[in-house]
Subunit: 131 residues, 2 copies
DNA sequence: CTGATCCGCAACTATACTCATTACGAATAG
DNA sequence: CTATTCGTAATGAGTATAGTTGCGGATCAG
């Protein structure tokens, strides 16, 4: 939505929340994370709201993914394995390596996709749908 | 652990649980999923337990991932977006496309890795560690 | 046949996480 | 000054994860 909006006319968290069908506080929390990552900026007061700080074509989905600080794709069991077991004492380190490779492939794919592309695709979908 | 174990000497869920430092029921729940996918088999009774049904080199991490039925890597917001908004009525379909590409890259990476490789890496880690 | 294992499954609980909601202070434009 | 909007904290409902107990069914040794 921000990519679609003119820079001079920022979007309020309430309008965005209306589109997502949720509440403004939830939106502000997420936008706060994106703001800390330098992707968006907020303006308080009358006529205020949110706008992109960088061009939509320069923001990759990976930028967004990292900004919101998602946890690892494949989590390890939260309890320490048994160090008396050959597998137990080596499996976590080993799995982190293997999972890391898969996660890297995932991130590379996200890095190739930009907000501008997503916006364009959404608008194309609009044209082709018969209403 | 199952890949390391001889076929003739199945592992009980209690032994596995001891290595993971959790309880047998949790292990049985997961192995039940792997069993339905044909990756492992269980044997009740004295001397029973679990064993691999296929060679460890033929089981990819993707096989395991799909067997445990993990949800999508990137979930959509659980409430329907506002259909009166251009973005709202197109964003879910659009994002599913983009997320799907990233998830496909992730799965391709998992497909290239096998249980046999993981076991070997864990055993190598054992050799190189100074105890 | 009997008893000791061991799986399979259901029920219940504790803990944690996600999101909705309310509230209130700070910043800003007119 | 006042209306608006962000920023953040507190609270609660709903859901997910995993720990625990219990018990029935299958299997094997004797």
């Amino acid at each position: 939505m921000l990519a679609q909006q003119s820079e001079a006319d920022p979007l309020t968290s309430e309008r965005i929340a209306g589109s997502v069908n949720t509440n403004p506080v939830f939106i502000r929390r997420i936008l706060g994370l994106l703001s800390r990552a330098g992707l968006v900026a907020s303006q308080p007061g009358v006529g205020g709201g949110w706008r992109l700080r960088r061009d939509a074509a320069s923001i990759s989905l990976l930028d967004v993914y990292e900004a919101v600080g998602a946890g690892p794709l494949l989590a390890l069991h939260h309890r320490m394995p048994n160090p008396d077991c050959l597998i137990g004492r080596n499996i976590q380190r080993t799995l982190l390596n293997y999972f890391g490779e898969a996660e890297a492939a995932f991130k590379q794919a996200l890095a190739r996709q930009t907000i501008a592309q997503v916006l364009e695709t959404a608008q194309e979908g609009e044209l082709s749908s018969p209403a």
